[in-house]
């Protein structure tokens, strides 16, 4: 079938092949015409979303990632939950939750929890700002922006702040019979962060970002 393709002369062919998109899920080739903002292009065979450009998506993603970064800092440093029972009270921060496994054998789990709920989300926001920020204000992409964006996409399943929030809710129900629990500002910061992250992912169209990165890099 190779004869059906342009520039089958074995040379670079970069310009020609750049107009094609292979579905990342099922590998079917598509030649995409301009997809207008707001529209969605799906793979003909498996239905995976290929392109879903949105108006000024880059700017919005960078803004939301910046917001999330600030919220995460607040979530780490403000008190998270306060427990009161029989005159005793204990205030704990997100950091205490991370250090819960720090005794003996379970220390590695502490590192893992820190990575999943704090470090990886922070890293992703920073990487997105680094990779897309310059392009959002019309500059050329920063050096190694591709690596930053690729790592941000790679670590996406491992950033689990939203799962942590559900965990907090379950934990609250478990201790509700035992003691009175007050939610601190850090809890609400984390809730806001989850909402901001969801909004950000809605604007994110992986393939358009890659196309834009490549085009801006070339000029």
């Amino acid at each position: 079938m190779a004869e059906a393709l342009p520039a089958a002369d074995g040379t670079d062919g970069g310009g020609e092949l750049a107009g094609l998109v292979a579905c990342p899920t099922c590998d079917v080739l598509h030649r995409l015409s301009e997809v207008p903002p707001g529209a969605t292009a799906r793979c003909r065979r498996c239905g995976t979303v290929l392109l879903a450009p949105r108006d000024s998506a880059l700017t919005r993603i960078v803004m939301l990632a910046g917001t999330a970064l600030v919220l995460m800092v607040a979530a780490v440093f403000f008190p998270f939950l306060e427990l009161q029972v029989a005159g005793l009270s204990r205030r704990s921060s997100l950091f205490d939750a991370v250090m819960a496994f720090s005794s003996g054998l379970m220390l590695p789990l502490s590192f893992a929890v820190a990575a999943l709920i704090i470090l990886l989300p922070l890293f992703r926001f920073a990487a997105l700002i680094y990779a897309l920020g310059p392009m959002a204000i019309g500059w050329r992409p920063a050096p190694r922006a591709e690596t930053a964006f690729r790592l941000a996409e790679l670590t996406k399943p491992w950033a689990m702040a939203e799962i942590f929030i559900v965990g907090v809710a379950v934990a609250l129900v478990k201790v509700a019979g035992l003691a009175k629990v007050t939610l601190g500002p850090a809890f609400w910061a984390l809730v806001a962060l989850v909402i901001v992250t969801v909004l950000k992912d809605n604007f994110m169209c992986r393939l358009s970002v890659w196309k834009t990165l490549e085009e801006r890099r070339a000029t």
């Binding site: 427990l83 893992a112 591709e146 478990k174």
Partner: protein, 216 residues
């Protein structure tokens, strides 16, 4: 609304894949390129036409995940001491306790996240890995959907680990009540991580390749 396909796309199936065209499509950015370089020209991600080691990694991570899921259920997840009395709770024990307290909704969430999802995931990944290269079992769309669900839902099993972390951090009131994490928390976290890696190792393109197997 629609992607404009190649006009002279296919003889048999009507779909021309990058693989059949003698090209490689990047799995992370969709860029089409000629085989040769090991890394994508656009995103720098690893390029592999069809990775023969993919299924092996799927099975290896899956087995590792199943093995560590056993101690996760046998050993205690939570050690609760109230007024000098210590009780140990396994995953299922914790669910039963929540259920006894009348918190049915939360009991259901924990049960689904820590029992139904992990076991369902073992079965689903094994099924996907076994049914690769057969176009008959369920149509590609069904398996594609199954794969998406597995990838999306797997991480939510981590809930129970976080619950333990929060409880252990919060409930440290000397004699009145203390909660400490049990060793099962570690094996459960590992089990979730291993099955996530297993699902990520699976190449969804192999689901669709079955349709072309008779044609190459």
């Amino acid at each position: 609304m629609s992607a404009v396909g190649m006009e002279n796309a296919g003889r048999t199936q009507g779909y021309l894949t990058a693989h059949r065209a003698g090209l490689i499509g990047c799995s992370s950015c969709g860029r089409v390129q000629r085989p040769g370089p090991a890394r994508c020209v656009r995103c720098g991600g690893p390029l592999a036409g069809r990775d023969p080691g993919s299924l092996q990694r799927v099975w290896a991570w899956l087995l590792a995940g199943m093995v560590v899921y056993i101690p996760a259920n046998v050993y205690p997840m939570l050690l609760t001491s109230t007024l000098g009395r210590t009780t140990e709770n396994t995953i299922v024990g914790g669910v039963i306790e929540l259920f006894d307290h009348g918190s049915w909704g939360v009991a259901l969430i924990v049960f689904v996240a820590s029992v139904v999802i992990p076991i369902g995931k073992f079965i689903a990944i094994a099924y996907l890995a076994l049914s690769v290269r057969s176009a008959v079992v369920i149509r590609g769309h069904g398996r594609q959907r199954l794969y998406e669900v597995v990838e999306f839902i797997g991480r939510w099993s981590m809930i129970d680990v976080f619950v333990v972390a929060i409880l252990a951090a919060l409930v440290q009131l000397q004699f009145v009540a203390t909660i400490n994490p049990g060793i099962a928390a570690v094996s459960f976290a590992l089990s979730v991580a291993f099955t996530m890696l297993s699902a990520q190792s699976f190449d969804p393109k192999s689901i669709w390749d079955a349709y072309e197997a008779d044609d190459t």
